[in-house]
Symmetry: C2
Subunit: 354 residues, 2 copies
């Protein structure tokens, strides 16, 4: 149990008015906790949102020893504020820390820290349909020295940003470019954890897709460039001939919390779910023979993101006439229903912030 | 041609006395230059060494859009200060920027910036045998917003650190662990550029090697885990039956400037050099049949790092009786001779700092 010091700002910022965007307006406070070898993780505190001041030789600037999580706080119609499976974010952060040689933060401490910040900035959780408070926990290496080694000092931070509906004008299926030049991850690398380097590596491919007129990239595996892995920074599902298929996370695919929740819901509803390597040719062949029924991405930002078109080499597959499919819609309605408190939640999925 | 503003410190720090380490003591000044979409790269300046102040949402902390170079300034016996092939660092930074969607810095501007900082901090270039001023140019994404996209703002910085001899007690061959679990790079990824994420991904493997009693890791390719790629953060050469072999840099191996210089020197000396994929089994077989003559790493920090032992699975190859070999020694003597002005340099290899 952390003893969190709370220092409230003397200069609260005005809340944003009008439509909210994503990730550029921040609340009045942030959570900080430091690590040093002699003290371990120490000095947990909620303080006014302020710049981070680091020596130019801080390891985070050179060797990207840094990682993050993404999660949201939702305001229910009754005015309660709730988190969606925050323990799962804490578990994933712990496994990311391990891969990056960063000392672990206990899951309970992580959840407590998130709740502490959201409680202080509760008024920043927006109430309009589809809006939420996006929460960004992240860890950075702060030791100032240039040898390539794990840092002896870290800072764990949480910032939060009131965010608009991902679909202000209704769910709009995205057009996806299947990337067969650049690679996001390979076995033995860092694809299964949420470290900064994975995202830096993805930018060029994202720009290429935009230039070609596509909204996102579908990544193939790094060895054979054959098996589907992720869409942009989301997990990806394919409904083919009644079976819902998604890539295993072993080693190269991020174990998404929305992904995990979708699999649990789908299995509960009686859909056959296959978590196994899926070659892109099988997807394109299913399009040819008319059995490619639905494709969607899953992630914290959009929750569920229907895919309307898949472009692979010289072939474009239009999925369900470019419209959202029934399973995709049901998952979206159910997950957002649970998150906003309109539907009952499975045991342990919802944590209320008092 | 940059118009570099110079602001000298009013409080010069004491120079370090006693033996110098690596990368933890910094000079009085640093070079900074900013990028914004409307102004491009602007405001180049040498200023007193000071912390970097960034919004917690700065993209460098989240998506590791960051990269660096490593180079040295050497003091000759006559007291001159000189750089080794700085244009090659500038070219490599440009290609790293391109891979990470960072706007390019012209190579001439890069070299001018390095020279400007070293000129101001010239007294920090140490004079003792084997010492140098290590120079660390790096670029970080500074825009404060959490969408996964290339930043619209950057800072390019150069800091410098007086550094001790890599081999204070004479060249000591390193023992190397051949890594066949974790992977540094895969084709289509970022292995051929100097971005932070590559180094974060390597830390766990380095810790494993240390735990097993080895100084560094030899990386195998990310697809077959069969072809030798790099040693730790150095390039790697193998002399087998009279032929000097090293991995091609295409896509997954960093194009080292020491590597390039070694290849040029070796070819000039008439050695057969083969730049082609080299399976680790061929290396181990050469050890068995007695034709594995020398192994060494090349990089800016150590210049040339002889390998005394290679451990691959259950076999340990001891190279040249664990002692530095004649070609390794000749390369070390020649390169350091050129760098410290004791030997004439090939055309364009040396840039003097006035």
């Amino acid at each position: 149990m952390l003893k969190i010091k709370i220092e409230k700002t003397a200069h609260p910022k005005p809340k944003p008015t009008g439509p909210l965007g994503f990730g550029s307006v921040f609340t009045d406070h942030m959570f900080l906790m430091d690590y040093t070898a002699d003290k371990g993780w120490h000095d947990p505190r909620v303080v006014p949102y302020a710049p981070i001041v680091l020596d130019p030789a801080a390891l985070v600037f050179h060797y990207a020893q840094e990682c993050f999580e993404g999660m949201k706080a939702y305001r229910t119609a009754a005015g309660r504020v709730q988190l969606f499976r925050p323990d799962k974010n804490g578990e994933r952060l712990r496994s990311t820390h391990e891969r990056l040689c960063i000392p672990p933060i206990p899951v309970d401490d992580f959840v407590q820290a998130v709740k502490a910040l959201v409680a202080v900035d509760k008024d920043w959780v927006p109430a309009e349909e589809g809006t939420s408070l996006y929460i960004r926990p992240f860890t950075i290496a702060t030791e100032a020295q240039l040898g390539v080694k794990a840092s002896s000092a870290y800072q764990f931070c949480i910032i939060a940003s009131p965010s608009g509906s991902y679909y202000p004008t209704g769910i709009d299926p995205v057009r996806i470019y299947v990337e067969d030049e650049y690679v996001r991850a390979a076995p033995g690398g860092t694809g299964a954890v949420k470290c900064g380097g994975n995202y830096a590596a993805s930018l060029l491919s994202g720009e290429k897709a935009h230039r070609l007129g596509y909204g996102q990239v579908l990544w193939l595996d790094g060895v054979e460039r054959r098996y589907v892995e992720e869409v942009g920074s989301m997990n990806c599902f394919f409904k083919i001939g009644g079976v819902i298929r998604t890539a295993p996370t072993a080693g190269t695919v991020l174990p998404g919390i929305t992904r995990m929740s979708c699999i649990e819901l789908l299995e509960g509803w009686g859909y056959p779910v296959s978590v196994a390597p899926l070659p892109i040719e099988d997807v394109m062949r299913a399009d040819e023979d008319g059995t490619l029924e639905e494709v969607f991405g899953t992630g914290t930002a959009a929750v569920i993101s229907p895919v309307g078109e898949l472009k692979y080499r010289d072939r474009a597959a239009v999925i369900n006439g470019g419209r959202i499919g029934p399973v995709t819609q049901r998952l979206y309605d159910t997950l957002t229903g649970i998150q906003y408190g309109r539907l009952p939640a499975p045991q342990g999925w919802i944590t209320e912030v008092e």
